[in-house]
Symmetry: C2
Subunit: 232 residues, 2 copies
DNA sequence: GACAAGAGTTATGTATACAAGATCGGATCC
DNA sequence: GGATCCGATCTTGTATACATAACTCTTGTC
């Protein structure tokens, strides 16, 4: 089963470079480094006890991943993603996940079936306990299980990359209204469609599950504004 | 109208770094640097008259773009993409283009309408003249016109990136059989669907246009084998 | 004669030194 | 009083030097 540890396409890490990259990336994804924050090389180098060279390397990789912006001669800042662009990204994510679901419906094996059901159960448990963070975590595993069942390695990589990039915003979304219960219900529909080998239904269910449409756009903007105010 | 010159997401270029990156990238995309070729830093540095530092930077960017593989401590080689992976990539490309077409059908403006028709005419002219290279070039512009009309900036970037990566292989494909005439006919259908605001038809037409299915898979493998033999 | 172990060589990873553009502050002019 | 121009400082971009892991060729042994 494919997981995020797949070396291909995500690699390109020198010795210390990867560690630094992961380290900084984590701080961005968890929000410890807020969008707009400057990333000066010298302080980072000092903090990690290395020279500027591996820091520059890590920053360039993060830039390639879209997590930071590097403007020539003007340094790096944590990427600021506006609402409109976020909607665009979720739209593409929805399409990719729909594709994964369609393929999964056609290609999934016994092991995938088991993994999907297990992930769904874990989601149910987390939702029942009302623990948003736990649900967030299980939700992630659930989606990865779908990607894996698509048996398209390149698609899996693309989904993983985009999913990671949208991570913080998915978390925000879950906090809104009773999105948690809704999300779980959608998961059930997705699994049902996949296990029934109904690719069209799986794709549709996932598209609807991911896409930001109608009032959810407003929710997202509100969340963003709230998060920004909290960070500042 | 969006073109490939959009700085966002593709950028992260220092002063000389971008130039080097483009330079090496071109040699890979045109096949001058065949898959599997080692990319040693010192010779490259000597050739471009710079030190190893900007060369390493360019290589890391190419690695992030998936054009080369960097194995820690073991140097960089031009990425070798096997047939199965290529099929996976074309499948994702088909899906992204289908999405672009669906959005374009719903969102295109007057200017996009004109651009699409102009690009289609150019394709017709190139096909009539039987000039494969000219058609290849116009074909590219045609697809970019579709991306642009989707009005989803993130999708446009993703399409551009993947399109560029698949460039050499699309070229190979055109050489096969009378794919050129078939391709033109498919283009006509796509434009018709988009202009008629029929998103579903546009998506389907593009999916079929891009995807590698049935005998086209065999054609691709044969082309690859031929190209490899020619390069060696 | 073939295989394995070890030293020498080569190439990559990292640190540091140097060059040059960008930012910020102050002084001058309108 | 405000804006603009110029210089000092800081930060990035590039070059070079050094450390270390990988490769290779040789040599010795079975």
């Amino acid at each position: 089963m494919y997981t995020r540890s797949d070396p291909k396409e995500t690699q390109a890490g020198s010795s210390a470079g990867s560690r630094l990259r992961d380290e900084i990336e984590n701080e961005i994804l968890t929000g410890r480094l807020a969008p707009g924050t400057r990333l000066d090389e010298v302080p980072l180098a000092a903090r990690f006890g290395v020279s500027r060279t591996p820091i520059r390397e890590a920053l360039m990789q993060l830039s390639a991943a879209g997590l930071i912006d590097i403007r020539p001669r003007r340094g790096a800042v944590v990427a600021e993603i506006g609402p409109e662009r976020l909607v665009e990204m979720f739209a593409v994510m929805a399409e990719l996940e729909a594709m994964a679901g369609r393929l999964a419906a056609r290609r999934h094996a016994e092991a995938d079936r088991a993994a999907l059901l297990a992930a769904l159960d874990a989601c149910r448990a987390a939702a029942a306990s009302g623990d948003t963070d736990a649900y967030y975590y299980e939700n992630e595993k659930f989606h990865h299980a779908i990607y894996a069942a698509s048996y398209n390695g390149f698609l899996i990589e693309q989904c993983n990359a985009l999913h990671r990039r949208l991570k913080p915003y998915r978390r925000l979304q879950l906090r809104v209204g009773n999105r948690l219960a809704t999300s779980l219900a959608e998961h059930e529909a997705v699994v049902e469609a996949i296990l029934a080998h109904d690719g069209g239904a799986a794709a549709e269910a996932l598209r609807g599950h991911i896409a930001i449409q109608g009032e959810r756009f407003g929710d997202l903007v509100a969340s963003l504004a709230g998060a920004r105010a909290g960070a500042a």
